[in-house]
């Protein structure tokens, strides 16, 4: 039985990583109804910045805030320069722009840092706790803690601050938000900045596990899509719960369903996406779109 719980703990560890990238996806989707396909690549780029800083001798705990700040500014700039010209147009156009951004950022990272894999040290200490025969690594605990903290901070931002209220208003109805004097463009840029920051955290959590190369986040993005679909694309809580469920489902099916094993694990998020879209398209915590005419 402890073998089963061991798998669950492993699943929660990877699920927390999926959750963190899903949070970044959900942040942008809530504001703009846009699925940002470049989310993973932006996270990867941020991770390279952190790696470059530490490789140059900057201590990790200084490199982290610098990376987050640069990522925030990068998100703001991307909204201003790349997304803004297409704002108000069809959503598909903007989604295609994010696909273009995906390719561009991936190639740019390869150009700057090459496609050779780099190993990134973990911010968390080695070692594990033994809880009733189940091994819980400090890495897993740390990842879960960081994701919980990010979710908590986002909750406080949205529910308890004035700018959070403005962000919710813009997400709900941008035209009305303008009529109460909210500078919607700035709020959207802030949303992209926040999303890029959360994505950077995600990349920094993934890199020590997977090794860093420009394709770091490709697989993670698929799992994050599954997490956001399952949890509801407009719900931050849903993103986290969805991420954890996807992580556990992936590990358990890999461990206990022989036909899946480790080779077909990537099919698990696909199956989750299909089933959720068939059974409950808005996800576990999402809101159905209701329009009153």
């Amino acid at each position: 039985m402890s073998g089963f719980f061991q798998q669950v703990v492993l699943g929660l560890g990877s699920g927390a990583i999926y959750a963190s990238l899903a949070l970044a996806l959900v942040l942008i989707y809530r504001f703009t109804d846009i699925v940002n396909f470049a989310q993973g690549e932006l996270a990867m780029f941020s991770t390279y910045i952190a790696w470059q800083l530490t490789a140059a001798g900057v201590p990790f705990w200084l490199a982290l805030p610098i990376t987050l700040a640069v990522s925030f500014l990068g998100g703001v700039l991307i909204e201003r320069l790349v997304i803004r010209p297409f704002e108000g147009g069809p959503e598909l156009t903007v989604v295609i722009v994010t696909v273009g951004l995906f390719v561009f950022v991936n190639a740019l990272a390869g150009l700057i840092w090459s496609f050779l894999v780099k190993s990134v040290p973990s911010p968390f200490p080695d070692g594990a706790l033994d809880v009733g025969g189940v091994n819980i690594s400090l890495q897993t605990l740390g990842t879960l803690g960081v994701v919980a903290a990010v979710m908590g901070l986002l909750f406080l931002l949205f529910q308890k601050t004035k700018i959070g209220l403005a962000m919710r208003a813009v997400a709900n109805d941008p035209a009305s938000a303008r009529l109460v004097g909210i500078r919607v463009g700035r709020v959207l840029a802030l949303g992209w900045g926040l999303s890029a920051t959360v994505g950077a955290i995600s990349g920094i959590l993934v890199a020590p596990v997977l090794f860093l190369d420009p394709n770091l986040m490709g697989g993670v993005l698929v799992y994050a899509f599954a997490a956001a679909t399952l949890g509801g694309f407009d719900s931050p809580v849903g993103a986290v719960v969805g991420g954890l469920i996807v992580g556990v489902a992936e590990t358990l099916s890999g461990a206990y369903v022989d036909a899946i094993g480790s080779d077909l694990k990537i099919g698990v998020p696909l199956a989750i996406i299909v089933v959720v879209l068939l059974v409950r398209p808005r996800g576990l915590f999402g809101h159905a779109v209701v329009e009153r005419v």
Partner: protein
């Protein structure tokens, strides 16, 4: 408390034109003067340009000509910048933030204000005008009835402490009793807050009862302007333009 209240401002519009792109001009040079603290009604049939007039004033569509609020030009600014100059526009369809609670809708209405005490006082006043909103403060706005949503939209506009309040068809989709109650409150707000009001209406009878001056808009031009009593007395003319008796 009175220090936190904004007082109304005078609106002066000259030669206002607006439309939706080339070849679809809707307003053909409107002149309109609204005194500070006055309620002005704009009447007219569907498609006359009533909504476009309010949209041009609040920056939602681009207007040309001049429109000044106590000397501050309103044209050529984005809606959020016009709002920051004291214009609260309650749009057609109310523009409620349906996913937010009633109280969050009101609080976001005061987004541009920095005076916390004034915002709290304004919230109390809105709940005073519309007690049903106080009862439903924790509900999501989307769950309110049409009449309650219209009250919320007006309440949210008041939170801005506007100098000019633009109301677009507040009676739309509401029962006659609720509409009458709503106009009574608009009049009370105008009296107590000294807010200047421009209200666009199809319900000419009620609008003329509430407003002191009225203008009849027809195909983008004012065809009749004057005191409400005068317009009402001139029933035949109004009937010709509005298509119904007053």
């Amino acid at each position: 408390m009175s220090a936190e209240k904004a007082t109304g401002a005078a609106l002066k519009v000259e030669g206002l034109t607006a439309g939706y792109g080339a070849g679809s001009q809707v307003l053909h040079g409107l002149d309109l003067t609204v005194a500070s603290g006055e309620i002005c009604a704009v009447l007219g049939p569907n498609g006359a340009g009533k909504t476009t007039l309010l949209r041009a004033l609040s920056g939602v569509v681009r207007g040309r000509g001049t429109a000044e609020l106590d000397g501050t030009s309103l044209l050529g600014r984005a809606p959020e910048e016009v709002a920051r100059r004291g214009v609260a526009h309650v749009p057609e369809g109310r523009g409620t933030f349906t996913a937010l609670s009633v109280e969050d809708n009101l609080r976001v209405g005061a987004y541009i204000r920095r005076d916390t005490a004034g915002v709290t006082a304004a919230l109390d006043r809105v709940y005073g005008y519309f007690p049903v909103l106080a009862e439903r403060r924790r509900q999501t706005a989307g769950s309110l009835s049409g009449g309650e949503q219209q009250m919320l939209a007006i309440g949210r506009a008041l939170m801005l402490a506007p100098r000019l309040l633009l109301l677009d068809e507040p009676s739309l989709g509401l029962s006659p009793i609720i509409t009458r109650e709503l106009f009574r409150i608009v009049k009370a707000i105008n009296k107590e807050e000294r807010t200047t009001v421009v209200v666009v209406e199809q319900n000419a009878h009620l609008a003329l009862e509430t407003a002191s001056r009225a203008h009849v808009l027809e195909a983008g031009r004012f065809v009749l302007s004057g005191g409400s009593a005068q317009i009402r007395a001139d029933g035949q003319v109004a009937q010709a333009y509005l298509g119904y008796g007053i």
